[in-house]
Symmetry: C2
Subunit: 413 residues, 2 copies
């Protein structure tokens, strides 16, 4: 078997943890597998490097920031390789560039455009364990070092697994897998044994931090089986893969929440064709990332347009809209910094009516007011007051009996 394993910064946080990770890799190798390991930077290294850059410049050039940050994985991959040698397991480390991770030139958020893993394959054929620096690549045009953005190591791992036609891509983290809700909010949240790519995409996009969205997209596009599991135990985690027939029984996978967004409302907008287009074109041109959009029913020829966006982009969006507001004859902009988004995700939703009604009733019973609603075929998201987020997550989790020991009942329903 070809096994790709990815270890995050916490898993390689210090020398002792590096040794423990090496031990796990050595076992996988000795079991007869060919092993490729993708590592993140140790512990808080990346944050420390960013802090140093900020002390030097408010706006460091992306090329140089990428050069700086990639030093982090360089350190962790070398020490993991050393720890393996110490265990008698030959290992060779490769930078993203050496491993053939070819990207575009968008520094800080580069996208993988190709993988040419010739050196990785050679080393595997020699019997070596291969350690690859996560989160980084080399740009096709400029030959400069690039980074894939935060969480990019997941993407490196899944993309390499696809390129090598690996049997499994194991993502090691500090939790046991994907849960029906954040266990810090819902203590009896249940670990999922298996979720589909589509569900995982929705969960990740709606705030579940266990896997990076782009890595799941890669997995889905290339059919890579992903196993999310804990680096602190040997128990099975959560498998992420193609949707299976028997999955239809499980209506709901879980509840995700996201407290990183804000809500902007453009008020008193004349209800005419083309107005919404002008608003969102202006925001797109200003590189504002819009998430949910809701337009209220028109009353007396005017309406309100609300949308959510990353909180860090609020000021910028406000500037764009304040200028536009006069031009289109709107009456002003409202900002709400204290919101939370709570989402219910489940592939079975497609064939089971009444899920939304049950979710809204649960929120109402818990005294939580719904400010916005948006849905996909396998997801229902609501925006609520930020202070209500834990109440909302628990209420929904309870309403669908997602806790341990109650699943059988629900699935049989």
């Amino acid at each position: 078997m070809i096994v790709v394993q990815k270890y995050g910064g916490t898993s390689v946080g210090d020398v002792d943890r590096v040794k423990r990770v090496a031990d796990r890799i050595a076992r996988t190798r000795r079991a007869g597998n060919q092993v490729v390991v993708v590592v993140s930077a140790m512990g808080k290294t990346t944050n420390e490097l960013i802090k140093m850059a900020e002390e030097i410049s408010d706006d460091p050039p992306g090329r140089e920031l990428d050069m700086l940050l990639t030093a982090g994985e360089r350190i962790s991959m070398a020490v993991v390789a050393m720890a393996l040698h110490e265990l008698g397991v030959p290992a060779r480390s490769f930078t993203g560039s050496q491993a053939g991770i070819i990207t575009d030139a968008r520094h800080g958020k580069a996208r993988i455009v190709d993988i040419t893993p010739g050196r990785v394959k050679e080393a595997l054929d020699d019997g070596d364990v291969v350690i690859v620096a996560g989160f980084q690549g080399v740009s096709q045009d400029t030959k400069d070092v690039t980074t894939l953005g935060r969480g990019g190591s997941d993407t490196t791992a899944v993309a390499l697994a696809a390129a090598l036609d690996a049997d499994v891509c194991e993502i090691y983290t500090d939790v046991d897998g994907v849960f029906t809700a954040d266990p810090r909010i819902v203590p009896d949240a249940r670990k999922l044994d298996r979720v589909s790519f589509e569900e995982m995409l929705e969960l990740a996009a709606q705030g579940a931090k266990v896997l990076q969205v782009r890595s799941v997209e890669f997995g889905r596009n290339y059919g890579v089986e992903i196993h999310v599991r804990s680096s602190f135990s040997y128990s099975q985690g959560t498998w992420v893969g193609p949707e299976e027939k028997k999955m239809e029984d499980a209506i709901i996978s879980g509840v995700a929440h996201d407290t990183s967004e804000a809500k902007l409302t453009l008020k008193g907008v004349p209800d005419k064709p083309g107005v919404a287009a002008r608003v969102f074109t202006a925001l797109a041109e200003a590189n504002v990332n819009i998430d949910m959009i809701v337009q209220n029913v028109s009353a007396e020829g005017v309406t309100d347009i609300s949308f959510t966006l990353p909180r860090g982009e609020t000021k910028h969006a406000d500037e764009v809209l304040s200028t536009l507001s006069d031009e289109i004859g709107a009456t002003g902009v409202d900002i709400d910094d204290s919101i939370a988004k709570v989402s219910l995700v489940g592939a079975g939703m497609k064939t089971h009516p009444g899920i939304a009604a049950r979710m809204f009733a649960a929120l109402s019973d818990a005294g939580v007011n719904i400010e916005m609603i948006s849905t996909s075929t396998i997801r229902i998201s609501v925006v609520v007051d930020g202070d209500d987020v834990e109440t909302a997550v628990r209420a929904i989790h309870d309403a669908f009996d997602l806790s341990d020991g109650m699943v059988g009942k629900e699935q049989g329903a």
Copy 2:
């Protein structure tokens, strides 16, 4: 002009120093020069990385150790480039590999075999300042990252200056230049305005730490003018270049000392042809680095052979010799860990007789016993007791009137 500047770890030791270095680079650029900057790792970074490697393995593989250590220069080159951008000076950083520093594959002590600075030249032509990671390259055969060994950044700088046909290679350090003796031992030691490559080679090889021996060899072989100067002032330092006619007047350049060696003596060696060859062949095969060798006059058909070597290799050499001692009929091995080597260097020595006699008399007057002597055409070295090193350096420095203000007299003599 094309100017190559090299800044050591102390010069870029923290964010404030990085900004100061950037300011100096910016001035050089704004004066109309094309500037290439070679940087070492910040402050104690390299030592910290080595410490981490040692915590993981007693004998880390060279390839991985090089991968680890090169993270240090990667960090410093990126932050120096950022600091330049902040001053409005466009700058681009390159790893050793990107800058075309091609080496052999001897990890930890690789030798530069070629320089292909295409990307460096392109960036210079674009008007950018180029920042290059010192101390590192990429191996010709394996394409693996290599390091040149401690002090390798000096070599990177001089080699790049040669490849770019630069007008000067400025080596920035924390002292004002090359001195007639270590100012910590001889407070009135004088800064030299100019020394020849040959003298600098002898001074560096005999313990002067201001320049790395291999960088001076590169300078001599390719005729690169080297300017050793302080990163904390704008005053002129010491120029290292080809010997000049007028240099003949200066008999003596300076006194160097080295306390890092030990002395081994193989006693009661039969005075027969081929014995010395057997001894030093055995040591060479065991990779022991021999420095000075002295064989005493034979008495009653037996002799003693003494030599100096790096103190860290004493144990290894002792093992080799103890085995050999019986085979060749010697009586045993003596180890002296407390020695110092003191050397007098000067190009004028070649044409001025009596220098050795004057040096030995000075030592005798100061009560310092000479244990070994070795000479080259422009150097006289003696081994003395380790406790006598400061007395010896001062006595010789005084005897040749090397201090500030006394030079004119000496040179006129």
